[in-house]
């Protein structure tokens, strides 16, 4: 992206038709803000949509997005695979996330001194693991302990052939920053930033791990993931409440299943299951590579073709066809924990592709976006019954979601007090809708946000890859922002009235253990 292209247009703030009195007061007091013309986000192609992204689709289906920019000679890479929590089945939950970890374990030639010897030991330990699961089911504690010890011994033996973390070390030595990955409900996303002169290294390494991954150190890494779950869920009041809430809200759809996986599933996942999952979902036809930074696009395209082009397309991922039935009646779940209380409420709403998605997105700002938002003002500023209130729409994008509220009460206020205040505000919004002033404020923030989101190379690469992976169009993320500008106060009132009903909500509370 070049300076000249980005400076063609200055964004204008939207002026409310009925300007806020207090803002006028501020102007009178000497803060001479210019109220601009109506927002252009309603009518013009946004800055984001006009980014000079080169799109290349390789013959094997890999979509490559190249966005050269000025600035320091660094390059941000994001490789996104269209697989996540929703593609899992009961019994093997957490497999997408475990696979994310395993992809850092090296290949047939990276991270090993003798892959054949390693593989021979894999067979032995995997057979022992199969027997271990049978012994556990039979309740044979003694045999289970023997087999666990045997697996540990075999993995230690295999480790004598392993050069641990070599994949990471090669990138580290190259000066890489931010090497990491994340798994969501719909995607597994790998990212790293490299000095521009070492950009080719990314392609060589990525081609190797997409072609020849070896799932070494499997059982110890599975233990690492179990510890990650203990950290994020088992010992975290908000993490545990999040999980309990989604499980209550979704009875059928996999959005109700934790991406990190259930503990008992993590303890039984096998190397063979992970390998099969990899074969199903990690083909180039299910992947998007986004590259943003200071590089030559011709050179980058040639690297993509040379290194990633020969990788076989892979299998067509199975579709996700589970449909969450309509909720008929409020659901409530209570989690007892030795901690101060928390509240989480979710209302079922449509997917990110639905016509109401824009209004629901804007509603998060109207309700909790900043200190002037409705719920913040009511609960944090005026009534002082909460320290914080957040809203979001999730836990994914492609399937019907929840409009979620997370609230932290201030003692002695209870979660009951919070619910009362929330439902009063919801009822008010459902009957009267927000004011033009509120809408104007939020849209001004959307307009400025549309610029701020372009600041970071890595941030842009993440947005481009995600939009292309989820919606088959990197521009969709910018278009969805532009659609926010078309939302009216009546749209907002209507979606609140339609979705924010008692029977459509699931309420989760975290409370101290009840006395017997």
């Amino acid at each position: 992206m070049r300076v000249a292209q980005e400076r063609q247009r200055r964004i204008r703030l939207r002026s409310a038709r009925r300007g806020p009195l207090r803002i006028i007061a501020a102007v009178v007091l000497g803060l001479a803000f210019t109220l601009g013309a109506p927002s252009p986000i309603e009518s013009q192609e946004s800055l984001g949509e006009r980014l000079p992204v080169r799109e290349v689709t390789l013959e094997n289906g890999l979509r490559v997005l190249l966005l050269p920019r000025g600035g320091a000679p660094t390059v941000s890479f994001v490789m996104q695979f269209g697989v996540g929590g929703v593609h899992e089945r009961l019994g093997t939950t957490g497999i997408a996330h475990l696979l994310e970890h395993m992809l850092f374990k090296g290949t047939e030639t990276i991270g090993t001194r003798d892959v054949a010897e390693e593989r021979a030991l894999f067979s032995q330990m995997d057979e022992a693991h199969d027997e271990l699961l049978r012994a556990r089911e039979a309740g044979d504690v003694g045999r289970s302990a023997e087999l666990e010890e045997s697996i540990g011994r075999l993995e230690d033996q295999a480790r004598t052939y392993v050069d641990s973390n070599e994949f990471d070390r090669i990138l580290t030595r190259a000066g890489a920053r931010g090497l990491n990955a994340t798994t969501t409900n719909e995607a597994t996303i790998y990212f790293v930033e490299l000095p521009a002169n070492r950009a080719e290294l990314f392609f060589a390494l990525e081609a190797d791990r997409m072609t020849n991954p070896v799932f070494r150190e499997f059982y110890s890494e599975r233990d690492v993931v179990i510890e990650e779950r203990r950290m994020r869920v088992e010992t975290s009041p908000p993490g545990a409440l999040f999980e309990a809430h989604l499980a209550a809200a979704y009875s059928v759809h996999p959005y109700g299943v934790p991406v990190v996986g259930h503990m008992s599933d993590l303890e039984t996942l096998s190397r063979a299951e992970v390998a099969r999952y990899y074969a199903d979902y990690y083909g180039p036809g299910n992947a998007v590579l986004a590259m943003v930074g200071n590089f030559e696009p011709d050179e980058a395209e040639s690297w993509a073709r040379r290194y990633l082009g020969p990788i076989p397309r892979g299998e067509e991922p199975p579709p996700v066809l589970s449909v969450e039935p309509e909720q008929r009646g409020e659901r409530r779940v209570e989690l007892e924990w030795d901690a101060e209380p928390l509240l989480r409420i979710g209302w079922h709403v449509p997917s990110a592709e639905h016509d109401d998605a824009a209004a629901l997105g804007l509603l998060t700002s109207i309700l909790t976006g900043g200190r002037t938002s409705r719920l913040h003002r009511r609960m944090v500023t005026d009534d002082r019954i909460a320290t914080a209130v957040f809203s979001s729409v999730g836990p994914g994008d492609r399937y019907p979601r929840l409009f979620q509220l997370d609230v932290t009460p201030v003692s002695p206020a209870t979660t009951v007090d919070l619910e009362t205040a929330i439902y009063e505000e919801i009822a008010l919004l459902a009957s009267e809708g927000p004011s033009e002033e509120e809408l104007g404020r939020v849209l001004n923030q959307v307009a400025a946000g549309a610029i701020r989101r372009l600041e970071s190379n890595l941030g842009l690469a993440i947005q481009l890859a995600n939009s292309e992976s989820l919606f088959n169009d990197w521009r969709e993320t910018f278009r969805s922002t532009a659609r926010l500008g078309e939302v009216t106060t009546e749209d907002l009132r209507r979606v609140v009235a339609e979705y924010f009903t008692r029977s459509n909500r699931t309420v989760a509370t975290l409370v101290r253990p009840h006395q017997p």
């Binding site: 992206m1 300076v3 980005e6 200055r10 964004i11 703030l13 806020p20 207090r22 007061a25 501020a26 007091l29 000497g30 210019t34 000025g70 600035g71 320091a72 000679p73 850092f104 047939e108 990276i110 641990s164 070390r169 580290t172 030595r173 190259a174 000066g175 890489a176 920053r177 000095p195 390494l205 081609a207 190797d208 072609t211 020849n212 150190e217 059982y219 110890s220 233990d223 510890e227 203990r230 950290m231 010992t235 975290s236 009041p237 040379r306 290194y307 020969p310 901690a339 976006g369 002037t372 944090v380 002082r384 201030v410 003692s411 404020r441 400025a448 610029i451 701020r452 372009l454 600041e455």
Partner: protein
């Protein structure tokens, strides 16, 4: 970000990774070690942007233009934080940034400030550290003048609205109540208290800090007048603005600042705990949080001891997957998701050397043993040349990432200026880490690592961890949580 208008330095980093002769590669099999090892990299040549230095009425202002997007950020760094005040002023000194943001101004009620900021999509942040208070404002370039006018009001003419003070107090008291809900937060706060005692690093909010006579509008005004004043300030500007546009705005801002009435004292020197021992906070949890450290005295300075300790710490456990502690605790044993070493090297007083991890109760003792073994090995033998070169290569080859954004460059320069570090500290650091040898790292650990003095704090299920077995690491005491 385009090249800056400030002075530039042509920097060549001629370190080729895995350089070897080029190989002919088949179009069918462009993968694997042979291909990766055959890669050659050109030296990275780039213009190293730096901020222009200006001065307005004796106040230093750093500017780095960046016309990529129509946004401007202005940064204020005030020398003076809660660490320079007595415990009686702890709550007010800590709360000052919050009250500058939320407490209104003499001209505008708090609510009007909120509405104005949000209506014009201005981002204003305020933060505090032990010896500084910082604030940043980010605005669309076309509203810069008005945004700075408001920000100047917030910084220099705070209202400290009584109702807002009261609301803030209520939120902090709630936070005190919730401190024990998160085992990591509980562990870190108790560990700091153990190691640093009644020193600002060891302080944690307690309900007494919010006693009616300690948190008053008058106290806020007093602390404000001692921190937010001319001599304490360094300013920075980045974004879509030139100096000719920025100068009058900066002048208008600095004109509103009063001279500092008093000079703040130096931060007190902590008396870091000696003697070691094991402290437990017994909680029925599925995972134990383990924090351990002892006092050391390597200071942040341009000398071999500092660079050797820094690189040594990275090899020991602060360097991610390339470091020993994470490789052993996580990769080899599967005990933990996270594990790292910690070696703090302040400029003016002692620091601590230790490690942090969290693991299931049954693995707590083996994990502590592995960490202590990894530490002891740093004394017994120098690290390998490969370990050293991996760590140094990352810093040298990744040096360009220090210049990723204008904000990064200006914030760093402001910090150097405010902390009296030399302008070329980053270049000195780059040279310094390259002078480290395996022998100098071993020496750093021989001189500074004392496992017998290790204070170990564990928040977790002591019965499952093994109360008797913990005694192997030192006398075990139950820690009373306040």
């Amino acid at each position: 970000m385009r090249p800056a208008t400030g002075a530039t330095l042509l920097l060549v980093l001629p370190f080729a990774l895995l350089a070897s002769s080029p190989a002919l590669v088949s179009a069918q099999a462009v993968t694997g070690r042979t291909v990766i090892e055959a890669l050659e990299f050109e030296p990275l040549v780039f213009e190293q942007p730096s901020a222009d230095r200006h001065e307005v009425d004796g106040i230093e202002i750093l500017l780095l233009e960046d016309h990529t997007l129509p946004l401007v950020s202005v940064y204020a760094y005030f020398r003076g934080g809660y660490g320079l005040f007595a415990r009686e002023d702890y709550a007010v000194a800590m709360g000052l940034p919050s009250m500058l943001r939320y407490g209104g101004t003499t001209r505008l009620e708090a609510e009007v400030v909120d509405e104005t900021l949000e209506y014009f999509a201005i981002q204003a942040s305020f933060g505090s550290a032990g010896s500084s208070i910082t604030s940043t404002i980010n605005s669309l370039a076309e509203h810069l003048g008005s945004a700075l006018d408001l920000w100047g009001d917030m910084l220099t003419s705070p209202r400290f609205d009584e109702a807002e003070i009261d609301a803030w107090k209520g939120q902090q008291l709630e936070s005190v109540l919730r401190r024990t809900d998160d085992p990591a937060r509980l562990a870190f706060s108790e560990f700091n208290r153990l190691m640093y005692g009644d020193h600002p690093i060891g302080w944690e909010f307690e309900s007494e800090d919010f006693a009616p006579d300690r948190v008053t509008r008058e106290r806020f005004l007093d602390v404000h007048s001692r921190i937010v004043c001319r001599e304490n300030l360094v300013l920075g500007v980045t974004g879509d603005v030139s100096w000719s546009e920025a100068e009058p705005l900066m002048r208008a801002l600095t004109d509103r600042l009063a001279p500092c009435a008093t000079t703040l004292p130096e931060a007190p020197i902590p008396d870091v705990r000696r003697g070691g021992g094991v402290f437990v906070i017994d909680r029925e949890l599925e995972q134990a949080v383990i924090v351990m450290a002892h006092a050391t005295d390597v200071r942040l300075s341009d000398d071999a001891a500092f660079y050797s300790a820094t690189i040594g710490n990275s090899i020991l456990g602060a360097g991610g997957f390339s470091s020993r502690i994470l490789a052993r605790v996580r990769t080899e044993e599967g005990y933990a998701y996270s594990a790292s070493s910690v070696w703090t090297m302040p400029r003016r007083h002692e620091g601590i050397l230790g490690a942090i991890t969290r693991t299931r109760p049954e693995s707590a003792i083996p994990a502590i043993e592995v960490i202590l073994e990894s530490m002891a090995e740093m004394k017994e033998a120098p690290p390998t040349e490969e370990e050293l070169s991996t760590t140094v290569d990352q810093i040298v080859n990744g040096f360009v990432f220090n210049f990723g954004t204008a904000s990064q460059i200006v914030s760093r320069s402001m910090f150097y200026l405010a902390q009296d570090l030399p302008d070329d500290w980053l270049e000195r650091y780059l040279r310094g880490v390259q002078s480290v040898t395996p022998a100098s790292i071993q020496r750093a650990f021989l001189e500074n690592l004392n496992p017998d003095e290790m204070t170990i704090l564990i928040v977790g299920d002591v019965d499952r961890i093994g109360r008797e077995a913990l005694a192997a690491f030192g006398p075990v005491s139950e820690l009373e949580v306040r």
